[in-house]
Every structure is written in structure tokens, then in C-alpha cells.
Symmetry: D2
Subunit: 436 residues, 4 copies
């Protein structure tokens, strides 16, 4: 399977401007084939006329280069030895690695590897990228070639399709099921870091949204379910951008005069899942974000996601013109959207769950198979945040949460459900921050 | 067991001014002893010189009175015949009833009964009652003698103890465990009606609250639980009524400057549970309300509870100076309170769950053994409300909820947990009300 | 409220044979009125010609008696002082107690108390009591007068009504809702002990059972609920005691030849809940047992329940001719039953959940608001048992449970649901018991 | 992405013996590229000297062939028209398809497609395949090339690795995380059918298993979690195949003499998920089966899984020497295994959940994010089975389940948990089967 990935990455290299490379000097993205499963790791090489030193996935390496032939050895923090030997052709390396066997300390295993040279940026100033997507992903996958490489501080102005794959002109551009724009490769982001994504702009770019008159099973009592056979019909909503409201295009009598304020939100925002995870459906969620469908992710919010792959690989899509808590109708007011976001990388920060920060609040999104477990996850994540950024003890966290937490239901429509724990910054400001 | 109740009620009669009674004319509260279980029902008699007619628990009666000896027959809506024979002594009746057997249509069973005459009000204008409680109840019980009889439209100004039984002067006045002021007997309220309780005033009347540095089990992940042994210590909070904030009296370093806005709420509000239910602990909740611990029940809110006993029997207590969602610290900021409320009776209205109405929102409180089931209950209750008051179809409810519902976690600290479904009145106002 | 209880207990005294008492010597059951809430505690007095010593609820007392006037002082393990002064009339004492205030260490509070002398047994041999019930309880209440006082080792042969209150002759004898036989006062059982109830005999005593064609909400997906409006009809089953099978009396075509093996079980078995708990409906469950509806409680099983009141106060009822796991039809095959049980008291044993022991298995019943929480409770309870009786470490418990536990769903029909964790004795026998 | 798949399938074609093909006659597996998402469908062509007819994914086609150039049109059951034009090179076709747009009835979209000719079997007798795996899959993927094509009635004798990727000789052969043997392509199996997999033989082939002394979070109360930091250590068990028992190799004192009966089971058994699903981790479960970790899947059992892709694509792996209910230790007694299974296809049968049939019982496995939801799914699935195979009404199902169902916890260790609903065949035999 790694063959495919090499192909994809070689293709992608062609699209990206590279600085002139001297020997093996530079940053590389290494793909190792572990019994058919590609593992991605970053390799930084300093090539001193053939004497190689550097860092491979956080561990030191030494080796040498003879023309296009390289060999180097990496020593893990536990003393394990990883040996690589390969051939370089300008911006690519292919070869074989010799790894210790995870199950038997005294045995070793050979794995093919390849590497592509990562681009260097021209200048240090943050850039604003205008990105027009041409294809879309129906998986949050670590294997998909990046559509654009960006740097911390950069912003991207782009668009998203609606959940059915339809663009701002009403044309189908991708397969239904929340097709995503991306992935964006963020230089410097590595597993263990946090990617901060600031939603600078999130605006409607068409005048209708598609929804259903459904109630998800999780919102239905058996008494309601007994009468629910009539539900599930499509409902098209008019989006009146001038007045800032939405209403059904052809309402039934009871909703003839209904008018609901628009409140655009981004349903899907994710980084690629880590090694050992299969690609994830764009309908699913996890610690990496995903189809969170949380109406707190709106213009002005910053979302923090734990990075699990080199470059983070950021995906976004499935925007809603507005949505009640939980997306109880299974489809919210699904529409295409104009989006501008910027990225930053917070190094070496543990994050048990996605975080969202607005002007007014800190929020942690717990996601699990039941609301009960999701609330536990949200609370744990908020405790983690308070301990990391405010230096509070567990007792102090308990007092603060007990007096001040807000819990809202974020999502009921997916395989996992979500609960967001929120704290007002106005209360947090009365604390003396750990670093202030 | 009925003996006890007669005693209690006879005692209570002494405290209430009665209008002059002529024969058996008037409203009576009947207690029937069903194999040791008292059943309470209202009896309205018109006594035309010994010819009796009227209504017993909604069903017509006919009979006669000969001096102090009465007998009458009630015909149920299913044709079942209930015969009563008793002796009247001014404002009390005792006797025996002959009932059909619920398990065997052709058999009958004898049950002792007693009745007390219900008071008549002097004049029709709503009254404001100043009520100083002298004892408190640790059960939401249908068996407890009323502390005061009031009429729809009346208001009551009174006080509540904190959850530990301590009053505004710091004196223990009742057993810990949310002791309640009440019950108040609301004339005219009968099973199937709804009692509307408007919280006209809810004000702190002392300068401290007691809490814990706990996290309830439902809020703890196993990772947090592994470090939670240190928790559970008492924390006294200062209530600064002038500045409108609360802060720990002797804070640990991380909370040295913490200051949280006061937001008084009433944790306990209940009507008596119906026939067939045991008295309920004041720590528990149900369709009847109870220890809901929902921070949406504050000054200005109206709470709607389904009546299950004649007179509703309203209890209130366990106020909090403020509380995060869910009362995650097990004890909120527990304090005594000054309360003024008024009552109204909405006849014949089905209510699957407690409702709360604020200036801004309609709220339904779902309560169950898991958040997942509580959310189902809250949603069902909101659908019921929309169908009753706005005449919406289920499809229209689904659209309105899908676009506009808010879900918050109300309570995590009890045997049942609570989720509140909320809708903004600003959205509902764009609908044409069913009756408007 | 304590008045009522005194009345009940005085009545009950009349029914029980007492040994000749000398002064205040002997065992007493004390009822203290804590702001209207009766607290029950055992008092053992040695009266040496007016010099009193002894034990009150585990704490030492000293005092004196002058004729019928007694006064004594109890010193709690935390040094708190409790003073009692009262008047004895043969087998009863009434008076006042002076207690420290739980909220303010420097304040004290006065509480009325009364006491009744507990009976002494004639001889030491275990007795078999033939008990014919005359009334039944619809609450698991600590306040109800015992129907019989028994001693550890004794057995009782009696009967139970079906859940609708109908006896073996088809006559209604009590109110529907699982009316219980009892409570039985077990001499010597005190809070902190465990009551072991061995079901020596559990036999059908009539030829029919009543059930429903229902599915409880907890067993219904929304898809099934959509078609469930037809359900809820009564189904009478014939109990063929000779062939040992049950079948619907008037089956629909698909069940025309259905025949299910009889397997009598006891749905309700409880001790009284502890101080601070309201009486509990006989439809509810808890750590004290209750309406567990677990089909593992059958002839030959021993049930272990944690004692929370002096005398334990054992209730039993609601037997089923047979029942699938979970009692999904809301009513199992409800019938009257002939029961013989013996009791034993295991002193000072902590029990987080009800335990059941059969010839083949140890079982712990977790009960909670969701199956997820019930499973946690069952597992904790099994770990507790293994640690107490087999001296295992938590790591060893994890290995044993991981390789050998069985989990079955016990109950789905109540407010709480139940999961039983089971271990085979055949596996446990390969361990060396802690005491063996 | 479809390019990759073509490559894989072309490679796989080389490994499979084909019958001589005449023109386009035969069965084809078509891969259509829907905006980067491969869709697999079966195509059966009758080529009458260039006049093409046949069936594409259940719908009729007509067209013609001119040399190696084909074109044909498929008419969907809703009247939609699908046009294909391509070029044949012996056993492969490539070309383009013209499809209606799902979002806009009046628009159409072009999609590349390819096809590979499916093999024909030599002779009709069921075959027994000896299959030695050489690589393993860490995903239940619809995209992976089949390792073997088999026919209904065939059996396969093969081996599985342990969950860590280690074989019977102790050698690491694949990446950890339940690597699977397979997929096996079952000719004739199509979406909507059911694949019946009979476990004819399931035998240990080495003398040790690896486990942990863990408790999964779902089994831990907060009280247990507070002491669980010590857990999570590896435990190697000896598998004594002669005596049929397992015991820790280096037991701690409390388990020194522990001995648990061996009971081999297959943890992982799956068909590929359907179109629109991402590949699924071999640690996950679904309606397609997966890492069910249910100890009822053992030698002699037949497992029924709903087919979602042409050929079903059967995977198996992750066998356990034995396992308590729920796999509470996260790792059961993980070991390699010798397996023989046979397959059958039941056409057009709806299956809401995996089914298992043993000699004694019918079982349905409900899998969901909470035990509460898993039980609902298991019950629904059992009702579906009873309605399909026994012709029962919902009322009859309710009676049968209420009197006779068993519920056990199957799995607690994955993202979803499992509950199995079981009915004894001895009870079902008293019913007259629908077809009997």
C-alpha cells in the first residue's frame, strides 16, 4: 500500500515550489511501510559534506551520504536502534529500514521506506492564501496528499461545499456525506503539538439551505417514536442574508411566519488521525475533531486540535447556516460557505479533547457514545485546560467548575454525541493566570 | 395508617378559619384507606335539606343525609359503583366505603374513609400571605398536613433553610437533606391540573454559603477519579450581597482572587406525588418536580408542575446562592433564602415533565437515570408544549427544534440527572400562536 | 411524626411475648425524633440496682435509674456527648435527649425519644415459624411495625401475594404494586451487618399467572416503538405445575403450541432503608435490595443484603412463575407463592451492592439509572467480594474477572436497571481461599 | 484514488485462474470512481455476438460490443439512466460512465470506471481450501484485493495471528491491532444478502497467550478507578492444551493455583463495510461484524452478517484462548489460532445486527455506544429474526422475549459495546416454525 502513497506524494511534489537543495540537507516527510500500514514521520537532516546528523521524529540520528546513497541510524529514547539505508534522487529518498520487533526485543524486522523533501517558505511574513478547491475528501485520512502547504501564522481564504457535495452555484462537486476542503499541510506541526485554527470569516455564499423535518433517534422518546413515521422529509430553507434570517421556502401552516436568525457555523473541522487509526469517515468525530457539528464553532472562534501526523493535515467542511443544539434534525441548514482561517502551532501540549475559544468563553468538547460519557470527557478536558493554563489544583478546578461551568449539548446526530463544557472568561479573569 | 392522617388533619383544621357550614354543603377532602394506603380525593356536596348531590373526584354522586348520618353513591365514568356511608360531626365525616375489586369485577371490598371540610376564602381578591415556617419536611409527601391553605392568585412571602437545615441566623432548624418549607394546599388544584408557581422574589438573607470541593461521579472520567481522593472537603463561601459576588472565605492560592457573580436559584420545588407513590426524599426528583437543582429556576421564572393530589401540596427549599450547570460539586453554594411566590391553577393540562418559563425562554426539564434518557424526556416535553400552545404538527416541531433548540445540563448530583430543552420566545413570537 | 410510631410500636408490643424484665436491664429499640424524622437505634442496658451501663448504637453509656426515672450519657467515638433523660413504664421509656448540633459544634438541640423493650427468645435452638400474613406493605419502610421477631438461624414458612395484591385463592388482599409480606425483625442485626437470607423453598401455589404483551421502553428501538401501539394487553398464563411448564391460556396463532419451563423466582426482597431515606416504593430498588426482579433469586439461593436499621426489617413479595432476563414485558408471569426462608447475620461487613449465591455461582447485582452504571456497580461489588473473601489484590481481581466473569441483564422494568456479575465457584475453588 | 484500486485488482487478477472468456460474456466487478470514492458493483453480461444484455447491480442493461469497444445503458428501478462506454482488454474493461446527478435531477455527471472479470469455478462440488496467509489487513476495507475467491458451500482451513500480529511460532508477521486474515471474496454474495459463516474448527496452535491485568474504563466505578493506577501490566498465560486450562505463567500469590477452562473464540469476523463508509479499523465493530469480541463465537457456531459489497469480502482474526464476558481486561487471552470455516449465502435477507447460532441458542448481537442502546439493538434484531423465521407478530415476540430471553454483555472494550440477546432453541422448538 505504501506504493500508492509514494505515487501520491511524488505527484504532489510537482505542485509545490522547492528551494534549492544541497545534498540531503532539509526537512523530509518519511513514509515507512509497516506490514502494509504507512507510518509518517518527520526527518530533519543536516548534511555536512556527507556527514549526516539531525532528528527523526524527535530522536537523534547520525549517518553518512555517499553521492546519492544514504545511511543513518536513529536511537530512540528507550535505546532502541533504527537503521535506514536509501537512495536519494533530488527531492525523494527510497530505501529500507531495519527496526526492532515490538513483540520480541531480540528480533528485528525490515520495512521499506520513502521520503519526500518538504518545501521551504519564501520569506518569513505570514501569508494569506487564496485557495480554490478542485477536489474534496470524504475521509479524514492521513494518506491523502496535501492540497496546500502553509506555515504557522498564515491564513487561507477558501470555500466549502454543503454536506451533499453542492457548491455555492448549486452544482454537485463531490460525493455526499460532508466532503471536505483540504487537507492543508501545516509546516512544523508534529504529533504532540496543538493546531490552533482561528475562524476569521465564515459567511454564507448562497441563498438556500437543505434540511429535513427529522428527529434523531437519540432525541425521541418511545412515545414520540410511535408517531414519527411521517418524519424525514426534505425541507429547503431560504437564507435571507440581508435580514439575517432563515425560513422554510414552502412552510406548512404552523410555520407560515417562522423566522429564525442566521448563525453560520462550521460542522466539520479535523486534523488527520494518528498512526494505527484507519481513515475516518467525514461523518465521524474523535479527539482529532471531525464532524463535530457544534454551533459554537463560528466566526471569531479559535479551535484547538491535537496534532497526530506531521503537518497536521487540516480538513474543513459541512457548514450550516444555523443549527439548534445537537443537530436534532439530522441535517442542519446545510449550505456552502466562504471561509477564512489562520493557523498556529502550540508545541508539546497535551489535549484530551477538542477545545474552542470565543471572545466570551473557553469551551471543551467531550465526544463519546453516550451523553453521560461525553460529559465526563468534557469535564476532564476542562480540568486539563485549567491545570495547564491557570495552574489550578484539582480541588480548585472542582470549586471553579462547581460554581461556574455551563454544559450544553453539542451534537446528537453522529455515532458519537457531544457535550461542551464552558467557562466564562469574565470569571477566569478574576483568577491570576499562571503565567501572568 | 389512616388514623394518623385524621389526627393530623383534625389538628390542622384548628388553624384555619372556616365559614359557617350548613349540613354537608361544601368541599371536602376525603381520605380512603386502601389496605393501609391513604387515597386523597375531593368531594363537593350540595346538601338540599338532606338531598345530596355533587361530584366526587370528577364523578357524579347522589345520596341523602339524615341528621349526622350520610350515605351517597358515586358512579364512575366506566359505570363502576362506589357506595359511602358515614357520620358527620360538624367539619369531619368518618365512615366506610364499598368499592369494586380492581382484580375481580364481580367482587367488592370495604374501605374505611374519613373527610375534612375544606376552608372557604373570605372575599375573592388575591391575598399576600406572610408565612413564617416552624417546621420543615424531609419528604415530598402526600401525607403531611398543609401548613397553609391558599387560593389561585395568592402569593406567599416566606423563607427557606439551606440544605443542611440552617436558617438565616445560622441556627439549625431542621434535619439536613434539603428540608422544605410547606406544604401549601392550593384550593381548587386537582389531579390532572397544572400548578403554575411564579417566583416573584428570591433573595439572599445571609452572608455565607456552604459547599464542597467535590466532583460528582457522573462528571469524573476514570483518569480524574484516579486523583480525586483529595476531594470532598467543605468550602465556605462569602456572599457579598452589595457587590453581587461570591468567593471562598479562605481560598487556596489558585483561587485567591476568584470572584463569581451571585445568581440565586431555588433547588427544590415540588408538588406531592400521586397515589401509589411512596413519599419521596427531598433529595430526589420526578415529574412532580422535586430537588431539580436547575439554575434556571430563579427570580422572575414561572414553574409549571403537574398536580397529582387535591390541593397540589406545594413544597419549596434548598436554595443556592449560585451554581454551575449540573451542581457538579454535589453541594452548590447552599444558603438560606427569602422567597415570594404566587400560584395559579391551569385546569386539565397534561404535562409529561416540569416546565419553566422565563422572560426570554420556554424550558422543559427532562429527568432520568442517564443524560441520554433525560434529553429524550426534555425533547418530548417541549414537543408536547409546542403542540398544546402553538398547535404545531410533529413535523413542524421537528423543524423548529432542529433549527432553534438549546439543551443545557441541569443536574448531575441526584439519582436522576436533568437536561433542559429551551426555546427562545423571540423565535416563538414569529409563529402565530394557536390562540392568537 | 414520632407520635405515630410510638403508637404503632406500643400496639406491636402487645403481640409479642416478653421475658420478665428487671429494672432497665435488657435490649431496647430507641426512636429519636430528629425534627420530625424518626431515628431508630439499639440500646443495651445493664442495670445494677440503678447504676446503668451499656451500649447505645455502638457507643458506651453510663447513667443511673431512680425508680422509673432514668438518665444516661452516651459518648460518641468522636467525643460528642449525648444525654438522655426519661421515664420507664415496664417495657417502654419516653423522654428527651440532648444532642450536639451537627452544623454548629458549640450548639445543642433537644429531641424527644421513646424506647420499646426488645423481646428475649425462649431457648437457643433455631425455630421454624409458620407465619400467615394478614396485611401487606406497599413501601419498604423503616417505620412499619414488625409482623414477627425472629433470630439468626430461624426459618419462616409463609406466602406472598402476586404483584396485583391477589393471593393463592384469587382474592385481592392488598393494594396493587408488589405488596410485601413483612417486615420481619431479625434480633441482633444492626446497621453495618449483612443479612443472609436463604431461599429454602419457593413453590407455586396456584395455577395461573398474569402478564402483559409489552416491551419496556428500555428494550425498544425507535423502529420497534413506531409499531408498538398495539402492545400492552393483559395475557393470562396457565401454570402447569405437573409438567413444569407455562403457556398462554388463550394464545394467538403464532404461540398456539408455545410451552416455557417454569422457573419460580422472588422479585422483591429487601431490608428497610437507612436513616435519612424516605420509605421506598415496593416498585423500586437500591443497595438494600427491593424490587430487584432478578431471575437468579430462586429456591436454593442465598441473598446478602446490607443492614441499615436495627432488626434489618426484612420484606419479601412479588414472585414470578418465570421471567426472561430484564422482565421486558413489564409484568413477568406474576403469581402468588409459597416461601420458606432462613436468616443469618454476618457482623460488620461492608456491602456496596446486593449479593446472591447459588450452588454454582457468586453473583453481585449492580443497580443504577443506566446499564452502563449498573455494570460498574456490579463489577465493583464483585471486586469487593473477592477482596473480602479471597484476599485478592486489585490486579488479581482484574485477571480473574477478565478471564472468567459473566454479565447478565437482571432488570429493565424499574426506575433503576440491573446487571449481575457472576463468577463460577468451580473457578474460584482453584484459588486458595483467604481463610482456607 | 480509483487508479490505485485498478492497480491492486490488476495485480490480483494475475493470481486467479480464469476460464476462457468469449467476448464480454461473464461476470464482472465494476469499480466506478465517484469523485474519488470507488463504488463496487457486479455486472453480468450476455454477449450475443456483440449484442449485450444482462444485469448491473440488479438493474437491466442493453448495449453492444464492436470489437473491444463496448457501450451499454442501465435503467434503474426509478427510471434513471446510466450510460457506460469502455474498452475491453481480455479480462478488464476501462471507460467512462454517465450518471444522473443525485442533487439535481436535470444534471448529469461523468465518472471513470473499470471492471475486472470474475473467475468461474471448475466444477460444482464444494471445495475445501487450504489457505496460508502471507499478509494481513489492519482495516476492514472494501478496497483491499481478495486473497482468495471462494463459492458458497466451500470451506477454508487457515490460521489467524494474535492481536499483536504474532503467529503460532512467536514471530511478528503483521502490525499490532488485530491484523486479519483475508479478505475472502465469496462469489454470488451481493449487497442485501446475508453471509453465513460456520466455524467448523477453532483450535489453539501455540502454548501461550498474552493479556493484561487491566479493567476497562466502562467496568470501573470511580471508587475502583481511584485505586487503579497500579493496573495495566502485561500478563502471559500458559495454555495447557492437554488439560484444557489456562493459568498465569508467573502468578502473584493470590492466583498461585488459579486454573481457568480454555474456551477458544474468534474475536474478529467481518464483511467489508458498504459504499459511503470509510475503511474501518480492525479494532472497531458495526452491523458488518468486526472486532465483536463475543465469546459466543466459537467452534460450532454459525455467524450471519449482512453483505454490503459484491463478494462480501470476509475477514477474520483476533482469536482468544478464553475471555470473560466483555473482555474487561482490554486484552483477552490473545493467541494465534487454527481455523476452518465454511460459507453460505442467504439471498435478500434484511439483518439489522449480527446474528450467531449455536447448537443450543439463537443470539443477536446489539452494538452501540452504550449498553442501553446496545440492548435496544439486540432486542430489535431478535424481533426481526422471530418475525422473519417464525412469522410471529410483535405481540407474540413480546410474550416470547418477556418469558424467555437471556441478555449477556458481549463486549466492553471497544468504542462500541455489545449485548447479546439469546433465545433457547428448546423453547423455539415448541413453536411451529413459519416454514415447517
Amino acid at each position: 500500500m505504501s506504493l500508492r502513497l509514494v505515487v501520491l506524494f511524488l505527484l504532489s511534489i510537482a505542485c509545490v515550489p522547492f528551494a534549492k537543495a544541497a545534498g540531503a540537507n532539509g526537512q523530509w516527510l518519511v513514509t515507512t511501510d509497516l506490514w502494509g500500514n504507512p507510518a509518517y514521520q518527520q526527518l530533519d537532516i543536516t548534511d555536512g559534506d556527507g556527514a549526516l546528523s539531525g532528528v527523526f521524529d524527535g530522536d537523534p540520528l547520525v549517518g553518512n551520504r555517499n553521492g546519492t546513497t544514504l545511511q543513518f541510524t536513529v536511537t530512540g529514547s528507550d535505546g532502541a536502534i533504527y537503521r535506514f539505508a536509501g537512495t536519494q534522487t533530488q527531492d525523494a529518498i527510497t530505501g529500507n529500514a531495519d527496526y526492532p520487533d515490538t513483540n520480541n526485543k531480540d528480533q528485528r524486522a525490515a520495512h521499506a521506506f520513502s521520503a519526500r523533501r518538504l518545501p521551504q517558505r519564501s520569506g518569513n511574513a505570514p501569508q494569506r492564501h487564496e485557495f480554490v478547491p478542485t477536489d474534496y475528501s470524504n475521509e479524514f485520512s492521513p494518506h491523502r496528499a496535501p492540497v496546500l502547504t502553509i506555515w504557522p501564522g498564515d491564513s487561507v481564504h477558501t470555500t466549502t461545499l454543503d454536506s451533499g457535495g453542492v457548491d455555492q452555484h448549486g452544482k454537485t462537486r463531490a460525493l455526499f456525506g460532508n466532503p471536505q476542503t483540504g487537507p492543508f499541510f501545516v509546516m512544523g506541526a508534529k504529533p504532540g503539538d496543538v493546531l490552533a485554527i482561528r475562524i476569521k470569516r465564515l459567511r454564507l455564499n448562497r441563498d438556500y439551505a437543505d434540511s429535513l423535518d427529522s428527529l434523531v433517534g437519540r432525541a425521541m422518546s418511545t412515545a414520540v417514536a410511535a408517531k414519527a413515521m411521517e418524519l424525514g422529509k426534505p425541507v429547503r430553507w431560504t437564507l435571507d442574508r440581508e435580514r439575517g434570517v432563515a425560513f422554510p421556502q414552502t412552510p406548512t401552516p404552523g410555520l407560515r411566519t417562522l423566522s429564525v436568525p442566521l448563525s453560520p457555523m462550521l460542522g466539520g473541522l479535523a486534523v488527520a488521525p494518528g498512526f494505527g487509526s484507519a481513515p475516518v469517515s467525514t461523518g465521524d468525530t474523535g479527539r482529532f475533531g471531525g464532524n463535530m457539528d457544534f454551533n459554537g464553532i463560528r466566526e471569531g472562534a479559535t479551535v484547538y486540535l491535537p496534532v497526530s501526523q506531521p503537518g497536521a493535515l487540516l480538513y474543513l467542511g459541512d457548514a450550516h447556516a444555523l443549527q439548534g443544539d445537537g443537530e436534532t434534525s439530522q441535517y442542519a441548514l446545510e449550505t456552502s460557505m466562504e471561509v477564512e482561517f489562520s493557523v498556529d502551532v502550540l508545541p508539546n501540549r497535551n489535549l484530551s479533547a477538542p477545545r474552542v475559544e470565543s471572545e466570551r468563553q473557553l469551551m471543551v468538547l467531550g465526544q463519546a457514545g453516550s451523553l453521560d460519557d461525553a460529559l465526563r470527557s468534557a469535564t476532564s478536558g476542562m480540568i486539563q485546560w485549567l491545570q495547564q493554563d491557570y495552574g489550578l489544583t484539582l480541588s480548585e478546578c472542582a470549586q471553579l467548575i462547581g460554581s461556574s461551568v455551563h454544559y450544553v449539548v453539542a451534537n446528537l446526530a453522529g455515532r458519537s454525541v457531544g457535550i461542551a463544557a464552558k467557562l466564562d472568561k469574565s470569571v477566569l479573569r478574576t483568577l491570576k493566570p499562571a503565567d501572568g
